[in-house]
């Protein structure tokens, strides 16, 4: 493999890893802070992609900015959606066992998939990226690289930084981290923990929906698209350490590299490499790379 091809492959790995991070960060927030195993997280990703598909024509007609208009509306809708979902279902799960959480959120997957089938149907759809991002740049004579993929990576980095800043530098972030460690103590200090949890869940849902929307032009929109993402996201969360944003970022990139170079060098076992990585890391550090205190 010559150096130019190697560098392009590294770019592929980073770019895939960053998108994974966007989905997994929401999952690790909900899992780590609320203690809820949320199997429906993949469905939120799927809902995001379908929102981008459904809203883009409407936004283009009424707001003049098709894709970004859809992105903005979708983001608002997803926060409301997450907030309501927490109030209606998830808030009953905090004191329950993991098995009941799994049952409830698995049920949500089935409901969302059926609703999707009824409302939009089972066809595959494409979403067009905004015109100014639809070109591509030549990379060292190897191949051309779509500008939209680079844009996606930029957005993911921006969100990673923003998340990190909110959690470590703001009062809300502090309350969230404290709430994860000791729910009762934070409550007795006068923080409305129910509202806090509702916000965290809404933010987690919004992250997944946003990831689905921003990935839609690249991944297309099709039934069952959330399930694949869900499994890899859980791997990322487990490798990174449950609840750790830093861990999720590092783990996403690690998975991106292992997946990309695994496909190139050892395609025979590429399907299990990511899980092998997870097993090895768990042997070495059972709590994952970064453990939340």
């Amino acid at each position: 493999m010559d150096i130019a091809v190697f560098l392009v492959q590294c770019l592929n790995a980073v770019q895939y890893g960053l998108l994974l991070f966007l989905v997994a960060s929401g999952l690790t927030l909900i899992f780590g802070i609320l203690g809820v195993i949320n199997l429906a997280h993949g469905s939120f990703y799927m809902i995001g992609a379908y929102l981008a598909y459904a809203l883009a024509p409407w936004a283009a007609a009424h707001l003049g900015a098709g894709f970004f208009g859809a992105l903005a509306i979708g983001l608002v809708l997803s926060i409301v959606f997450g907030y309501v979902l927490e109030w209606a279902f998830v808030s009953y799960l905090y004191q329950r066992e993991h098995l009941q959480q799994v049952l409830m959120t698995y049920g949500l997957i089935l409901v969302f998939e059926e609703l999707r089938s009824i409302i939009v149907g089972d066809d595959v759809h494409g979403v067009a990226p905004p015109a100014w991002l639809s070109g591509s740049v030549a990379l060292g004579g190897v191949m051309s690289y779509p500008v939209y993929r680079l844009f996606m990576s930029g957005v993911c980095i921006a969100i990673a930084l923003a998340l990190y800043a909110v959690l470590t530098r703001t009062r809300v972030g502090m309350a969230i981290r404290a709430g994860a460690t000791n729910r009762e103590m934070v409550q007795s200090l006068g923080v409305d923990i129910r509202l806090l949890y509702r916000i965290v869940f809404a933010a987690g849902v919004a992250l997944a929906v946003f990831a689905g929307m921003i990935a839609a032009p690249v991944s297309s929109v099709y039934p069952g698209m959330g399930n694949q993402v869900l499994i890899v996201s859980f791997v990322v969360v487990v490798i990174g350490g449950i609840g750790s944003i830093r861990g999720a970022l590092l783990a996403s990139l690690l998975v991106g590299f292992v997946d990309t170079f695994g496909k190139v060098f050892i395609p025979q076992i590429a399907g299990i490499l990511v899980y092998l990585l997870m097993a090895l890391i768990l042997l070495w550090r059972p709590e994952g790379l970064f453990r939340t205190s």
Partner: protein, 389 residues
Amino acid sequence: MIFHRAMLVRAVLAAALCTGAGGVAAQGKIKVGFMLPYTGTYAALGTAIENGFRLYVQEQGGKLGGRELEYFKVDDESEPSKAVDNINKLIKRDNVDVVVGTVHSGVVMAMAKVAKDTNTLLIVPNAGAGAVTGPMCAPNIFRSSFSNWQPGYAMGKVAGERGAKKVATITWKYAAGDESVEGFKEGLKASGGDVVKELTLPFPNVEFQALLTEIAATKPDAVYAFFAGGGAVKFVKDYAAAGLNKTIPLYGPGFLTDGTLEAQGAAAQGMLTTLHYADGLDVPKDKAFRADYNKAYKTTPDVYAVQGYDAAQMLGAGLAAVNGDVGKRTQLVAAIETAHIDSPRGAFTLSKAHNPVQDIYLRKVVGTENRYEGVAVKALADPAKGCGM
């Protein structure tokens, strides 16, 4: 309490009478069991197959071989682990005379095994797994669609004739992909080319970027890809986005573009694929079929509807020969084996292993159609490796 018990007894008696009466009434009807995907990724395909089947039966006045049909349905969910249970529901619970199914190759393998063990008549209306008309072949198992090998071989032949010497292949690492690539390789070698790089990724992974970079570095004369559904859309778009379609032509079996052209948009324009069906065929039967289907279901039929329609034709040919007496299995099977099926895809016959011997067409993507370009290979028969019949 006593009142309730009396009610219960009455209800049970009534139910028993009903089923008894139902049993008598149903004796006159032939029981057809659809085992198809009605939910999930392949739901649209399952519906199209059933629609096609019912359309032919309606055209015959609702009767095949002089007997009316009664339908039983099971949703196979494209789930191989449930396949044995599902087909047993039709065979053991509903006592069907014939099973029609299914789309997914993994599910069909389990179905073929059960059909073989219980000697149930099975007509496969889509799944192209080579084994069904290969090592697993049996007198009671038929296929109205294709084998994965067939479109692959035809595309290989065309690619070689168009001057491709060094070709890279890419597919998911699973049976259907392997069989398709195998067919392609044989066709390509027969017309003077060779496969220089075989790329695979785990099913149903859709992160193609790493392998597209490999293709760009290899610089082959052409690429052959086997994907379906969402994966196919993403691959064709990623291939175009990487700029590869400008220098390296992308070939594939028809599944790469069928039913998903609206989503693939500009990325697929001009692409060549091979399949046993196409838009704009000059076949009178096809024009009539399309018009009738459109009238009945308010939508344009696809290749899956054709395969369902032909499954009914094959069953009809068999039943006509025995006047609807499904007990005369040997004559029924012999009649299907020798039948000329007047399919919308063009007439076909069946091979010794019960797979269609059919023309494979070369098609070109124009707008949202897979437009007929010519015949890639005439009357192509699957080699039926491992079949003892």
